[in-house]
Symmetry: C2
């Protein structure tokens, strides 16, 4: 008989977000008349704006014509899209050949784990987006789950807390092959400064580590002093890969379009380029992002599209301000919500899932328990700024009545 | 420094299709006026038909409305799509819960390799679609590449040749955990009979192996006696997973939509359901097929869409008949091209790449060298029936003048 993959067997319970959904459904069944509002999963809610839907609709109609139809394209994406990403989002500091379009950041992280394999040692921010850890476990880069520490053996967790300004103490950090780093951060909403990122890059260069930099929320940065890409930092081309996405800035969560940037200078210890193997992975177990969605991405990157992107980001950041104001007025300890669409709240002495349950049961508002992002998230709860305005306002009214 | 993944280092040279593209480009540069025709990669060429493009365009416009917009959905796909696949394509012999929609069969095979991991032993048809072997190597399920045999150590190659009716000699086959099997076959065009598949299922049940059945070309079967799905065979629910796709029957190669069927009865040796772990993989390193493309898939599965699917398949099968007639008239030994869109031709005493080069250089027609699909493909060349009608006819005119 076929043995179960022992790496998958290491994963405890379910993935965070399906578990939240399960509890939400249970609450709805118990309270059939309740109008539950989700500030949980970071799921975009606002319709796409006109220029982008027109681009998509035009491309869809085009698929019915000889000129507009296309079958398999290059797995790395349209040259025009790769060029537009390099030009418009990176202002030319990366080369189009270094940009590989994809069906999203989560999927790219899974494929990067396949690229580096079971032998690559891993460090992650704690708390962090679940796929860094879960995917590393599945590929075999970890030991067993330790029920006491709530950590996987063999993975180094870098606590990111208010006490260290959500930036790891690099002096206390052992060398690892890979360092996952997300800024603006999901879930804490912390944005690394230029100085912080420079120290991270210097640390990676000194240790010959590779940073996997997740910039999926970079468009939410409005402060011009804060870096949007790791490649704004000197030395990053020798030690970093960037993962990013159209999901949050344009609302493509359901459409699926992301990209990675892998600089040509980045090499393995044998001197061979990482980009060459990354291309091999992308052409072997991937077949390109949808051509239709790539056309939508192109529409999002011309002048009208970039303007719509800015409007979408501004809308969600107004939500963030409303939520932040409400929680602040309630005297809750909070972080983030500026230059990032997440508000990270702390409930000293309480368990994340307990706070989650009380907010759900008493206010019918879904949040995300911080402990779901790692042990250092225990005692925190994340509020997402993605939501319809009327629902966000209604949620804050209900929250104000809570005693938490 | 970070070590290169030793599994990726085992892969020789490039992926087959990029190499063909490279040679095509080189030929075009040498002959700038030549109008090169591709009967190489199995890439669909005909515009989508009206009902499906209307479905896509409507969905695209809908994304701009509150009602039509959707963000992240279930990673497994829309319930409606999973239901329609189960109902329309499987006539209810599989359950919607067992159908997981995805961005395509190639990607699903990569994820299945992640599911089973490095310790699962593997058998493949020889010749076969490259991702079965290449992906197994990347996940670590093989030894080194043997330059003499052109095989990877630790992978069992099952020769499928005219001499055995393209069906492996199961008596000579050692037990493996996984058996990759593709019918209608890419590249040979062979379609397994009900009796053959029954013997394969019985073999898998006796050995407690799991068959990964690739039915991406099942809609090309017109003979009602031939099985379109492994689940038409008694016992398959205990020993098979099916991988399939909208690419070839509807022309979604560029749009990206496929699915897997993993029966609830399929278990690992510890009794745990394979479907549970498969769901974990799909929710952890995947984020769902594009919602827009799923809407297109739904349009393809209603009555008008199914009619368009049939017309698309018929068109390409008329191409197959034209190519087959031409090559037959030339006295070339050939197989397939009935119930499958590939014609598999044999050139005794010649090397596949030599024949490929001569057809390219002398007729400006791109084919696919059989040796690219595995050592048993040496001496064969594949002709694809995907192409515009005028180009297919022009290609046959040029081929007729060749002395091969």
């Amino acid at each position: 008989m076929v043995a179960r993959n022992s790496n998958i067997a290491k994963l405890p319970g379910g993935y965070l977000f399906p578990e939240i959904n399960r509890r939400k459904k249970a609450c709805q069944e118990k309270n059939p008349d309740a109008k539950i509002i989700s500030l949980g999963v970071g799921n975009t809610t606002e319709p796409l704006m006109r220029h982008i839907t027109e681009g998509l609709a035009k491309a869809a109609a085009g698929l019915g014509t000889g000129k507009g139809y296309s079958g398999y394209g290059d797995e790395q994406g349209f040259d025009a899209l790769r060029g537009a990403i390099a030009d418009k989002l990176y202002k030319g500091i990366v080369d189009p050949d270094e940009v590989l379009a994809s069906d999203g950041a989560k999927c790219d992280i899974g494929r990067l784990q396949l690229l580096f394999g079971a032998d690559a040692s891993v460090a992650v921010q704690d708390p962090s987006y679940p796929v860094y850890v879960d995917g590393s476990v599945i590929i075999g880069a970890s030991g067993a789950f330790d029920e006491t520490t709530k950590q996987f053996d063999g993975i180094h967790y870098m606590p990111c807390l208010p006490e260290n300004q959500f930036f790891p103490d690099l002096k206390a950090l052992p060398r690892t092959d890979l360092i996952y780093f997300c800024s603006p951060n999901n879930p804490t909403g912390a944005v690394a400064t230029r100085t912080q990122l420079k120290s991270l890059v210097d640390f990676a260069l000194a240790n010959r580590s590779i940073i996997i930099f997740d910039s999926a929320y970079s468009e939410y940065i409005s402060d011009p002093e804060l870096p949007r890409s790791i490649f704004e930092i000197e030395g990053a081309r020798q030690c970093a890969i960037e993962v990013s996405s159209f999901s949050k800035p344009v609302g493509f969560t359901g459409l699926r379009l992301g990209w990675t940037v892998c600089p040509k200078e980045l090499t393995f210890d044998d001197g061979s380029p990482v980009l060459k193997d990354w291309n091999r992975i992308m052409t072997t177990v991937f077949n390109g992002a949808s051509n239709l969605v790539q056309r939508g991405g192109l529409a999002a990157l011309d002048d009208l599209g970039l303007d719509e992107m800015q409007k979408t980001v501004s809308f969600y950041m107004e939500n963030a301000a409303i939520i932040k104001q409400c929680l602040g007025d309630m005297g809750i300890e909070l972080y983030g919500g500026t230059n990032a669409p997440y508000i990270w709240t702390r409930f000293p002495g309480q368990k994340s899932w307990d706070v989650f349950e009380r907010i759900l049961e008493e206010a019918f508002v879904v949040t995300t328990p911080g402990s779901g992002f790692g042990p250092a998230g225990e005692g925190f709860v994340r509020f997402s700024a993605f939501g319809h305005r009327d629902e966000v306002i209604e949620a804050t009214k209900r929250l104000q009545k809570l005693k938490i």
